[in-house]
């Protein structure tokens, strides 16, 4: 049986009748190590188009296509389409296209479909989709792809047979016709895949091909690899079925084809595509290769892309500690999904499912416990009365630090800040109604304003003007520009018990036996804004992933060992940090039960209130210039012009100089707004290169016993290379 010729497709497999299924599979499946598999397809070509050059083309085509799209491929595609460098960013196509329009003034609206723009977008979206879905799961080794964490190398051993020579045993015999438009095919039987008891005739995933020598030709291919025909046909020689179906007209003539559902970009479905992960898994099964997942894959973490049972790393600790209920609920939902997918997964054996499920169940139980027993615990004390900022509360210096660990967006010159605000409202009160939080204000820099009261003003910046300010410290003006955040604490009750003290000074420890309600032990944090562009150019949530830490008194300005009378202060040596990480909504909660005294908050107040802590997340980035002298004023002006021309305020741009050996370095700090990331490079005709001031971070690894991150690029222990050696003879060749 053979498919009819068609010009629309150049890919096909033609099936022998099932009774020929005993044909020998010549493809070699070898497990080279616990995590390495090699699949070798021996091919001998003959015929008019069989040349050494074409043999090379086959090898190259198979290698290129079965290794998946490389980053270079993707970049080249982007370049050819005239797209910006971050076109692979993980955004949806609509977002991406919106960005594309912004970047390409005058571009045509795709809905109008003029000028071929829609085609361009479709093309870009299609390839972006391929890349986003698949390329990231492939090995860094260009010759390998990943199958269930095992590196799978697919190679062809192609030799050319002269017309008078006999076929070489053990090689598929492929006739190459001197016709680039010929529709290539291979002869193959097919059988149900092992373990499939009731195969569905219409489902290619239930079947595998059984190619092999039967004394004659195993296929006939065009001498044209431009449409990846060889790569597709080699898929059949390894046992894979077609993932497309022909469309025929009433006369039975093939007039086109369509891809099977879920195989839009599958190399077994169309010519310009890549291997699918499922195909690699099938090959492993066909070859009888079992990958030791525990050895090959790091911990529980499987590749999260394209796998239906990956156990995603979930940072539940912070959310539990802070009773971050939105985050906890979201995590719980993800875990439930993971558990369901795990149990449905067909390729994971039961003995491995169980411990994974147990691990997930434990996480769910921890979250449930936190939600029920801790986070929903009734708040004791009276209903918070209405309070007036500035009258019922007086500022207290509570410093904080904040930055986004996700994208390394922070700066020393544009610190974050916020306001600790008592309020009578329930958690979740709309932010923005709180004073001193107008976007664009710079906390801690404007002397003389009233702390936390005037919209747009700078909270906590009046040195010594208000009771409760820590002696010797100047709120909002910490040396070096540390983010300084002032807050309010109640100084009087509304209503107030006559027996209660007139005033409670922050930092004092009240008599624990009185009836004064306890200070709430949770600070609700709301991040206001954050950068949009990260170190890798990827757009992310504006306010999520922000870590906020309150700085205790004892560590704000610690005495140096050389200070007169300095002693080793042990205050708070066993206290937890007062910190949290914001969720996608920019919210989190800091539990201050253990640290409130060291934070200067006292033990008891006469008003039970909720305290919101609004944080203006930092927005800064930087660059450096190295030269024989500091950057000149003229050059600085040029840079300022460039930056302000891109929407930055001149006030947000700063320069500083320092020596580096015999060179000068000029640091450039600038308030980072949207779309002006740290991957910029200016070519302003300056004498010296401007270099992005890249992010650096500490290097703690995952905790022992935790589910580690997905370490995808597990490379060879010893270095190596693949070379082409003229006249090389393999062992098989030499037989």
């Amino acid at each position: 049986m053979r498919c009819s010729l068609a010009t629309a497709l150049v890919l096909s497999v033609s099936f022998l009748a099932p009774q020929f299924a005993q044909a020998q599979m010549l493809t070699k499946f070898e497990k080279e190590g616990p995590c390495k598999t090699r699949i070798t397809v021996p091919i001998e070509i003959y015929g008019d188009g069989a040349t050494d050059d074409f043999a090379f083309e086959i090898r190259k085509n198979v290698r290129d296509q079965w290794a998946g799209p490389s980053a270079e491929d993707a970049a080249a595609i982007g370049s050819s389409l005239g797209l910006e460098t971050d076109w692979l960013a993980d955004e949806d196509n609509a977002e991406w296209y919106k960005k594309y329009l912004e970047k390409n003034e005058g571009a045509i609206d795709p809905e109008v479909n003029q000028d071929g723009t829609q085609e361009l977008v479709d093309k870009a979206g299609q390839i972006r989709g391929i890349y986003a879905d698949y390329v990231r799961e492939f090995s860094a080794d260009p010759a390998c792809i990943q199958g269930e964490c095992c590196a799978v190398r697919i190679v062809t051993d192609v030799k050319v047979r002269k017309a008078d020579d006999d076929p070489t045993p053990g090689y598929y015999q492929i006739e190459i016709v001197d016709d680039p438009n010929f529709r290539s095919y291979v002869w193959a039987g097919h059988k149900a895949r092992e373990g499939v008891e009731n195969p569905d005739e219409d489902n290619p995933d239930d079947w595998q091909t059984t190619p092999g020598t039967n004394g004659g030709s195993n296929g006939k291919w065009a001498n044209n690899s431009s449409r990846n025909a060889a790569a597709h046909e080699v898929g059949h020689l390894m046992g894979l079925m077609d993932q497309y179906k022909d469309i025929k007209n009433a006369d039975g003539k093939t007039i086109g084809s369509f891809q099977q559902h879920g195989h839009r970009h599958d190399i077994m479905a169309q010519s310009e595509a890549f291997p699918y992960r499922d195909a690699i898994a099938q090959l492993m099964e066909i070859g009888g290769i079992e990958c030791d997942e525990e050895t090959c894959c790091p911990g529980f973490e499987y590749n999260r892309f394209g796998q239906n049972y990956g156990v995603t790393v979930l940072a539940v600790g912070d959310a539990i500690a802070a009773c971050n209920k939105p985050a906890l609920r979201r995590l719980r939902s993800q875990l439930v999904d993971q558990r369901r997918n795990l149990m449905l997964a067909s390729r994971i054996p039961a003995h491995r499912k169980i411990p994974l499920a147990v691990a997930i169940d434990e996480k769910i139980a921890r979250i449930d416990e936190a939600l029920k027993k801790v986070c929903d615990r009734p708040v004791t004390g009276t209903t918070p009365p209405a309070v007036t900022i500035g009258e019922d509360y007086t500022p207290i210096p509570v410093e904080s630090d904040t930055d986004s660990t996700t994208w390394c967006e922070y700066g020393t010159d544009s610190p974050g800040g916020g306001t600790l605000i008592p309020s009578g409202g329930a958690p979740g009160t709309t932010p923005g109604s709180t004073p001193g939080t107008t976007p664009g204000s710079t906390p801690g820099t404007t002397p003389g304003s009233t702390p936390g009261t005037t919209p747009g003003s700078t909270p906590g910046s009046t040195p010594g003007a208000t009771p409760g300010t820590t002696p010797g410290s100047t709120p909002g003006t910490t040396p070096g520009g540390r983010p300084t955040i002032s807050g309010g604490v109640p100084i009087g009750s509304t209503p107030k018990d006559e027996d209660d003290p007139e005033e409670t000074t922050p930092g004092e420890t009240d008599d624990p036996t009185d009836d004064t309600p306890e200070i709430p032990t949770t600070v609700y944090v709301k991040a206001k804004a954050s950068v949009l562009k990260g170190a890798n150019g990827t757009k992310t949530s504006e306010i999520g992933g922000q870590r906020i830490k309150l700085i205790p008194d004892a560590t704000k300005n610690p005495a140096l060992p050389t200070d007169p009378g300095a002693q080793k202060d042990q205050t708070g040596a066993d206290d937890d940090p007062a910190q949290c990480t914001t969720d996608d909504d920019g919210e989190c909660q800091i539990v201050i039960a253990d640290t409130r005294t060291t934070l200067g908050l006292g033990l008891k107040w006469d008003v039970s209130a909720r305290y919101d802590y609004e944080v203006e997340t930092p927005q800064s980035s930087g660059a450096t210039v190295i030269g024989d002298e500091p950057l000149s004023d003229a050059d600085k002006d040029t840079i300022v012009d460039e930056l302000t021309g891109n929407g930055l305020d001149e006030d947000d741009i700063e320069f500083n100089n320092y020596r580096l050996g015999d060179k000068w370095v000029t640091g450039i700090g600038y308030g980072l707004k949207y779309d002006y990331g740290d991957d910029w490079s200016l070519d302003l005709g300056l004498k010296y290169k401007i270099e992005p001031d890249l992010c650096r971070t500490i290097q703690p690894g995952p905790p022992l016993g935790s589910s580690p991150q997905n370490y995808s690029a597990i490379g060879g222990e010893i270095p190596g290379a693949v070379i082409s050696l003229p006249g090389h003879m393999t062992q098989e060749n030499a037989q």
């Binding site: 860094a140 790393v313 940072a315 539940v316 600790g317 500690a321 660990t405 390394c408 922070y410 910490t478 070096g480 520009g481 170190a535 560590t555 610690p558 140096l560 060992p561 050389t562 080793k568 042990q570 205050t571 040596a573 066993d574 206290d575 937890d576 910190q579 640290t595 190295i626 320092y658 020596r659 580096l660 050996g661 992005p692 001031d693 890249l694 992010c695 650096r696 971070t697 500490i698 290097q699 703690p700 690894g701 995952p702 935790s706 589910s707 580690p708 370490y711 597990i714 490379g715 010893i718 270095p719 290379a721 070379i723 082409s724 003229p726 090389h728 003879m729 393999t730 062992q731 030499a734």
Partner: protein, 477 residues
């Protein structure tokens, strides 16, 4: 003229000079700190400070510390990190570097180094002289290097006699930018540090850091760098191109590379980086809230007083090597950074693949061997790559790399078929001259017949008979 005895004149620090380290009359006595001699403190079945013990810092008479003598000096070790909780019970104040040219608290830059009142280092983040640690990472690193001995509490540092120069270049959450790291490196080099510990990383390289590294190297400073914890090639990571630095990978309980440790030909050496025990700075929990890291707050605390912490990462492998380097400098202060680097690397215990490999470099730090190593001894065997050339007798594979030794005897190149060959054959005669110009040898193409996959094995032999191997995987298409 009255002569004042020097011994009386140099007194400075209030604490007794002794018993906090392996010098003086306590030279060979291992520490007795409870968490050093302890085991199972957090339920584990291995010693609390297993990481130090694994590289030779144990409590036996033959411990690496036994190599320290009474004349050992104080090595200035700069820690570029998140700062230090200098009030921690296990940080002796006399183990902190004190800037000899600066008068405390006079508001004057006495030594003219550009930093006012920089007594023990500098806070580059906030621009002041108080490099306090609000993250905890720096204090942890400092504890591994220099925690006090025999103070009745806690752990033992590798070199408690080191003088720790605290350079805070990373903020409250352990983040910073390259320019601050560069400034800290320059500060360390300008102010007498012999070793810099840099448990810091990020994507890409910057010119400003490279120049700072070069500057430090020119001043004789050894820079020890954590390879990073992303499980990715060093080529994608910062500092991979740092010349003559020591890049440290993390090994596990079985002396294998940890799964997270970055790898590549840039890796020089490995040290234990799993479940390392050290100090916790107050109000910190450094692993809390790190994206992608599953960690429940407080889980890493150790001890009822929560003053100790256990963590994994190349960050904590690097300071073990830093401490060893500090000890070498303390016993032989006239050595150059290159010599100390050589002593560390060439005395390492080969682990993983035979010879220098991409996961663990020269191998696992062997502190005792390093302290006893001859500064000029080395054996190098590196295969950096191959290229196909047209030789006199036809196509050939040119092997690129280095085969050299301080007293070179010979080098041999062998071929083994397959991925894990058991049999080897020498396709060419032994190499009798050191290969130092980048080209080791050429192998005729005919030698590769019979297999599509080969392993090249280079063995360099020193005149004393010791050898070093390097292997290279070669696939033919």
């Amino acid at each position: 003229m009255r002569i004042v005895s020097l011994a009386a004149a140099v007194c400075c620090f209030a604490l007794p000079a002794l018993a906090h380290g392996p010098g003086g009359k306590h030279a060979a006595a291992p520490p007795k700190d409870p968490l050093f001699v302890g085991e199972g403190t957090w339920g584990q079945n291995y010693p609390d400070q297993w990481a130090l013990r694994r590289v030779g810092f144990d409590d036996t008479r033959g411990s690496a510390w036994s190599k320290i003598n009474a004349k050992s000096e104080h090595t200035i070790v700069a820690i570029i990190d998140t700062g230090l909780d200098w009030n921690h019970a296990d940080i002796a104040w006399d183990s902190l570097w004190r800037n000899p040219g600066e008068t405390p608290n006079n508001g004057i830059d006495d030594d003219g180094n550009g930093y006012v009142d920089d007594i023990m280092g500098w806070n580059f983040v906030d621009g002041n002289n108080k490099p306090w640690d609000h993250d905890g990472h720096g204090t942890f690193v400092a504890g591994v290097i220099g925690a006090a001995w025999n103070n009745g509490a806690g752990i033992a540092g590798v070199d408690p006699n080191a003088r720790l120069m605290v350079l805070k270049a990373l903020n409250t959450f352990g983040n910073t930018r390259a320019s601050l790291v560069a400034q800290a490196i320059v500060y360390a080099a300008d102010n007498g540090a012999r070793v810099i510990n840099l448990s810091v990383g990020g994507e890409g390289n910057t010119e400003v850091e490279k120049r700072a590294m070069d500057y430090a190297r020119a001043k004789g400073v050894l820079v020890v760098i954590a390879s990073g914890n992303e499980g990715r090639p060093m080529s994608e990571w910062s500092y991979g191109d740092a010349e003559n630095a020591v890049i440290v990978a993390a090994s596990d309980f079985n002396d294998r590379r940890t799964i997270f440790s970055n790898w590549g030909p840039e890796v020089d050496i490995a040290a234990p980086g799993l479940d390392v025990l050290s100090l916790r700075a107050r109000y910190t929990d450094t692993m809390r809230g790190i994206p992608g890291v599953e960690y429940e707050g407080g889980a890493a605390y150790v001890g009822d007083d929560k003053r100790y912490y256990r963590a994994s990462g190349t960050s904590f492998a690097a300071p073990i090597v830093t401490g060893a380097a500090s000890l070498i400098f303390s016993t032989q202060p006239k050595l150059s950074a290159a010599e100390v680097r050589r002593m560390l690397l060439h005395s390492a215990k080969d682990i993983g693949a035979a010879g220098v490999d991409q996961y663990t470099g020269y191998g696992l730090l062997d502190a005792k061997a390093a302290l006893a190593a001859a500064p000029d001894f080395f054996i190098d065997a590196h295969i950096d790559g191959v290229e196909v050339v047209q030789g006199a007798g036809g196509p050939a594979v040119r092997v690129l790399g280095v085969a050299n030794a301080s007293d070179f005897a010979r080098a041999r190149i062998e071929l083994g078929a397959g991925k894990d060959p058991k049999q080897w054959s020498a396709p060419i005669a032994d190499i009798t001259s050191p290969a130092t110009n980048g080209v080791i040898a050429e192998i005729p193409a005919s030698a590769f017949a019979g297999s599509a996959s080969w392993v090249l094995r280079l063995t360099t032999t020193h005149a004393n008979g010791r050898t070093r191997e390097a292997r290279y995987q070669l696939d033919l298409e």
